[in-house]
């Protein structure tokens, strides 16, 4: 299968790879997917006191498109408010990365991951 240049770029040079302390009250963690399905994404955000995402990190077990989708999302959400981040749509991701139909689920997973991270942060801080 041919990968788009955007996917290859994120795959070769993934942005924001890493792990944050999930016990930190400023950190929200979203982990979605399952090893059996071939994709697991862990996406973490660090949120400032005024509700802006200061930093984001990810680690992904999955195909190149899954890695690229989560890498892209970490880039995008930095500087966003929680509400903005929670409104990210998978179609934006799949368009940016030119994902083929068989890989759309990777973008869906990335959307799920950021939503889960936001929800985790909100639960922690409610």
């Amino acid at each position: 299968m041919a990968y788009s240049e955007e996917v290859l770029d994120h795959y070769e040079n993934p942005r924001n790879v890493g792990k944050m302390d999930d016990k930190d009250s400023h950190v929200g963690t979203g982990m979605v997917g399952a090893p059996a399905c071939g994709d697991v994404m862990r996406l973490q955000i660090k949120v400032s006191d005024d509700g802006v995402i200061e930093d984001a990190k990810f680690k992904t077990y999955g195909c190149g498109s899954a890695i690229a989708s989560s890498s892209l999302v970490t880039e995008w959400v930095k500087g966003m408010t929680l509400d903005q981040a929670a409104e990210l749509k998978n179609t934006q991701i799949s368009e940016e990365l030119a994902l083929p139909p068989v890989k759309i689920h990777c973008s869906v997973l990335a959307e799920d991951a950021i939503k889960a991270a936001v929800a985790d942060y909100r639960t922690k801080n409610s």
């Binding site: 299968m1 990968y3 795959y11 993934p14 790879v17 792990k19 982990m31 979605v32 997917g33 399952a34 090893p35 059996a36 399905c37 071939g38 994709d39 697991v40 994404m41 862990r42 680690k59 992904t60 077990y61 999955g62 195909c63 190149g64 899954a66 890695i67 068989v102 689920h105 869906v108 997973l109 799920d112 889960a116």
Partner: protein
């Protein structure tokens, strides 16, 4: 060294130049282009002579009578002809067939078709090491069993089955035994004079011959009857009509002759290369060989790199032409049915790569491959949340995953 490096010899092999040369002599007006079925002139006689020489070369590789070799278009057609042909011919005797869950699709899908026609098929489970045991065949036999079809060497994991022992069981119970030998012919010794095998499928392009040609061995004593699947001019004693492709057949014959002459020497070399590859990667943590380590053909090793997903690994190994144990690149996103039949969990199956080496693989290529694999696995593990969790001592089986 030319990139990418070809490590997918189980998928197909490049033709041996000696084979290509023989084939080229059977194409043009100056060459041996005649129809082997033409009886009225020299062109036909010469072509027939070439075809019969090739038939002997194939027969010599597996120690059978040349008259027991039927030309086909490849192992898929041979499997179809053997299984459907025998099932249809002997259907009055019974309608039960035994095969295994890790057969090639050419066997499995043919069996599925027969199920739709009213046959009953038992699909045997292999052991976790990939071996289909003679005992499991014996236990599955019924009064109405007419055919057993078990491959000699599995295409994904390279594991060798004991077809000699299975043949003893089938013969004693008067059941026909078909063996798919696409991955074994030319790789391991096959002695059909001794083996109690009734039908055996061969492919040329797995042993440095051309694509589009194969053969089916059909035993004469005791005689095996088949219902033809291809009707026409009555070629190949009525079992497979169609003008014989002289150049393809000559190519397969030559490939078999070379394999017979060089197999043992080549196997020693391949065994050493495979060991070199395994030694080069197996000290990475959580790396496993799929299928029995010892009971396998020299050219194959199927490896799981735990916590690394197969498709991204293939992407990182773009300089190596290998295939993923999981068929993730297809639309199905299903991990390999062979690895799953061994009882392997999905994530391990998703993390598997088949490396298959052959006649033209060099030590330099193996060393390059090792470097690439180590770099890729380490990089992807750095990216893998599962690797993190494993390192933190989390039992991944106990995690509640959010499936999708």
């Amino acid at each position: 060294m030319k990139l990418p490096i070809y490590l997918d010899y189980s998928a197909t092999t490049p033709m041996d130049p000696r084979v290509a040369e023989k084939m080229a002599q059977c194409l043009t007006l100056e060459g041996n282009f005649g129809n082997p079925a033409s009886r009225s002139h020299l062109f036909g006689w010469k072509a027939e002579e070439a075809v019969e020489l090739a038939r002997r070369q194939v027969a010599d590789l597996v120690n059978c009578d040349p008259r027991e070799i039927v030309w086909t278009s490849g192992a898929t057609e041979s499997d179809n002809l053997a299984i459907k042909g025998a099932a249809h011919f002997y259907s009055k005797k019974g309608k039960h067939i035994i095969t295994s869950k890790i057969e090639h699709k050419a066997v499995l899908d043919t069996c599925r078709q027969l199920e739709r026609e009213g046959f009953e098929v038992t699909y045997l489970d292999p052991l976790p090491n990939g071996v289909v045991t003679p005992d499991s065949v014996k236990e599955a036999l019924r009064e109405d069993t007419i055919l057993v079809s078990i491959m000699q060497v599995n295409n994904e994991i390279g594991v060798i089955n004991d077809i000699e022992a299975i043949g003893e069981i089938t013969r004693a119970n008067k059941v026909l035994f078909h063996v798919d030998a696409a991955q074994s012919a030319g790789k391991i010794n096959i002695d059909l004079d001794r083996l109690k095998v009734d039908l055996m499928s061969f492919s040329a392009h797995k042993l440095y011959g051309p694509k589009g040609i194969g053969a089916l061995y059909v035993r004469r004593k005791p005689r095996v009857r088949l219902e033809a699947q291809m009707h026409g001019g009555g070629h190949e004693r009525g079992m497979r009509s169609g003008t014989l492709a002289t150049h393809q057949i000559v190519g397969m014959g030559e490939a078999c002759a070379i394999a017979k002459a060089e197999m043992h020497q080549e196997n020693r070399r391949l065994m050493a290369l495979r060991q070199r590859l395994w030694d080069g990667v197996s000290d990475l943590e959580q790396v496993f060989c799929n299928g029995d380590f010892d009971q396998r053909v020299a050219g194959n090793i199927n490896i799981s790199f735990n916590f690394v997903e197969g498709e991204s690994l293939l992407m990182a190994l773009k300089d190596l032409a290998v295939s993923s144990g999981s068929a993730c690149t297809s639309a199905s996103l299903e991990p390999s049915y062979v690895l799953r039949a061994l009882g392997m969990n999905d994530e391990m199956a998703h993390s598997s790569i088949r490396f298959s080496i052959g006649r033209f693989t060099t030590e330099e290529e193996i060393d390059f491959a090792i470097e690439k694999i180590r770099t890729a696995v380490n990089k992807l593990r750095e990216l893998s949340p599962l690797w993190d969790m494993y390192k933190d001592g989390v039992d991944l089986d106990k995690v509640e995953w959010v499936s999708h």
